[in-house]
Every structure is written in C-alpha cells, then in structure tokens.
Symmetry: C2
Subunit: 214 residues, 2 copies
C-alpha cells in the first residue's frame, strides 16, 4: 500500500475508529464489498469525504468495484495499531474501572489487562475478569517491572494527575483518562482524555437547538 | 446578547462543553477574567479560533479586557441547555449504568435521575444514589407517565436498539447511548452515541504514529 507523505489531520484520525467499527459490522453481516457511496450513507458522510479520508493513507478502493470490506478493515486496524498488542492496567477499580474492564471494545485480542489498582481495602485482593485488584501503593513498581504500555485512569479527578505522574515516571507511554478533568503529560507520552459529560452537554445543546435564537 | 443567524457547525458545538469545563476550572481557581490568548493556551487552541468560535454566538469579549469568566461560562451553559432541567432514566444498572449514575458531570443540578432499569432480578428493587432499580418490563409505562426527557442506554449492544425504540415510542426525545453500536432514531429525536472504544483506538494510533510510513 502506498501512503502519502502528508501529516494526517486529527479530524481524519478520529474518523478511522468509526470506519473500523462500521466495517466490522458489515463483515458481521457478510457484506464483502461496498462502494464509497453506500459506506458514506451508513456513516453519515459523503462519498467524496470517504474517498478523501482513505486517500490520506494511499486509497484502497478500485474504480467501479468499491472497497473490499475485509481488507479495508484489516488495513485500517493496522493503521490504528490494532494489529499489535498492549499491556494495560486500570487504576481505580470502582464501577467505572470495572465497566471499562468489561467493555466490549477493550475486551479484544491485543489489549491485555494485566492488573487493576485501587485504594479501597475492600477491593484489594478481589478479582474481576480473572484480573487481580492490587494496592495502588504498588502501582509504580508493578508498572515498571511488567512492561505496561497503556495506563487507564478511572480514579476521582483530584487524584488523576498524580496517578498519571506515577505511570509516566515508570515508563508508561500512553494514558486513557476517564477522570473528568484533563491531565497533562510530557510530549513523549500520548493521552486521550475521555470527558463523558461533553457528549451529554452536546445532547442537551441539540435538544434545545431549535429554540436557540442563532 | 446578539447572535448571528448562521447555523453553528457541529465542530464548534462539540467544543462548547470543553469551554464550559475549562471556564468552570478557572472559576474554581478564582480566575475572573481571561484573554482569548490565555484561554487558547489552556485549551490547546489559537486565540483566533477562540474568538471565531465565540463569535458564532455573538461574541462575549471586550477588546483589551478579555472575557469575564463567570459570565462567559453562564452564557455557554445556557447555550448548552444547562440552565434547564431534565428528567432522566438509565437503562441497564450494571457497572456502566452505575458508573454513569455516579459520574460527576451528570450529578449536577439539572439532570434529575428518576429511575434505573434492569432485567436482572438480583438488581431489581435495589437502590443506587437513592434511585430505585425497576424492572425493564415497566420501562415504557414509567417513561410515559413520568415525563422523561433523556434516556441513557447502558445495556449490551444486542438490546440497545429495542430499548431505544421503547423509549422513543413513549415520547423520550433524547438518547445518550453507551452501547458500543450506533442506534437509529427518527429525525425528531436527538442522539449521542458514545463509542468509548473510538478514543482507545485513537490512542493506539497516536502511539504508533511515528512509525507509520505516511
């Protein structure tokens, strides 16, 4: 596959997981081939936007044939880094941490949940999905000696930055943060701050849009 | 406040909750006034983008003074519909449903959680945050007679569309869907599909970006 040498915009990057998911659904429904027009209709994008997006990565379709669904999903998965595997820990084993541990998109080959951590003595020592909940005091040491690549933060927001700092000091290079506040990381660490309330407030905006005088 | 008559793009709309959150943090830290340059630095945007975004709603700043943080947050909150209140139900009272019930951005004045629903007899009858878990068989009837505006879906993906259908048949006009599949709704209903895995796959993309030959 030939790829362009242009830096791909974050807007396109953020659409790739959506392509990946929709293509997975198509495979599940035994659809083997799809045109950019049909795919666009499914995803609420124009055919031309689909072609533009995929052209950032060299383009995959054939004129008059469309896209081979399985190949395209595989290629996008590979671009997303989903053909590799990652050792992960979840910090915070409350409802949110447990929900993430059981979340479908995370329970796939490639994301290896090695341990969970909490401060709560009633949780420490328990197991979830066969994963031990360990004492948060042991987080740094564990992360350093178990080659953890992704740290998932599910603690209250006042502790999120210090948890992130401990992870980063011990060589974690990627943080998936669910605490409702952005955490800061150095340039060599990547972060996704998942602010769930932002989508709720978008919803209430949309509920009221018609009555806004704009 | 004077507003423009241009339809606001979804990209701007999706940044509004972020403004709202950052301004809340500033208020929390007793910052009363901020320039577009400083706000941009905090949020990772340019000063000109900040001014452009806020101009969609008529603009709030004064040349040489900057923005009044409290007023700006209040205005944005009002644009987001956060000055109103909403009756809500959560369908699915497992870890994810419970995590949402306890999530900070949702536990605020305005979002009134009236009930939770589940199929699991071991959960039905229990309370979370003083909220009763009811039998999912009673969902339609309850929603209709309690003026529910927002339905929050935290059930496994194979049940998400039928739950959405029940909510909509009984007059719910907004759906916040956490099941890892998009649900379809008619034009008069608004929906936010929160696909958590998309942000995970964005993270793995960013982890591998340097090694991608693009």
């Amino acid at each position: 596959m030939q790829r362009n040498s242009i830096k791909v915009s974050m807007a396109v990057v953020r659409r790739l997981p959506k392509y990946y998911r929709y293509l997975g659904d198509l495979i599940h429904n035994d659809v083997m081939r799809i045109s950019s027009k049909e795919l666009g209709k499914l995803m609420g994008l124009t055919a031309s936007q689909i072609r533009q997006d995929l052209n950032c990565f060299g383009g995959f379709g054939q004129q008059g044939y469309g896209y081979n669904v399985i190949e395209l999903q595989k290629e996008i998965g590979s671009i997303l880094g989903l053909s590799k595997s990652y050792n992960c820990v979840i910090v915070g084993a409350g409802n949110l941490g447990q929900a993430i541990a059981n979340y479908e998109g995370f329970k796939r080959e490639g994301f290896i949940l090695k341990a969970m951590f909490d401060v709560n003595p009633r949780l420490i020592g328990n197991t979830i999905r066969d994963i031990k909940i360990l004492d948060i005091l042991d987080l740094g040491e564990y992360v350093k000696s178990n080659d953890i690549q992704i740290g998932i933060i599910c603690v209250p927001k006042e502790h999120s930055q210090s948890v992130a700092d401990t992870l980063i000091e011990n060589n974690v290079k990627a943080i998936w943060n669910f605490a409702p506040t952005d955490v800061s990381v150095p340039d060599n660490v990547v972060i996704e701050n998942v602010a769930i309330s932002e989508s709720l407030y978008t919803l209430t905006y949309l509920m009221n849009e018609d009555s806004l005088n704009i």
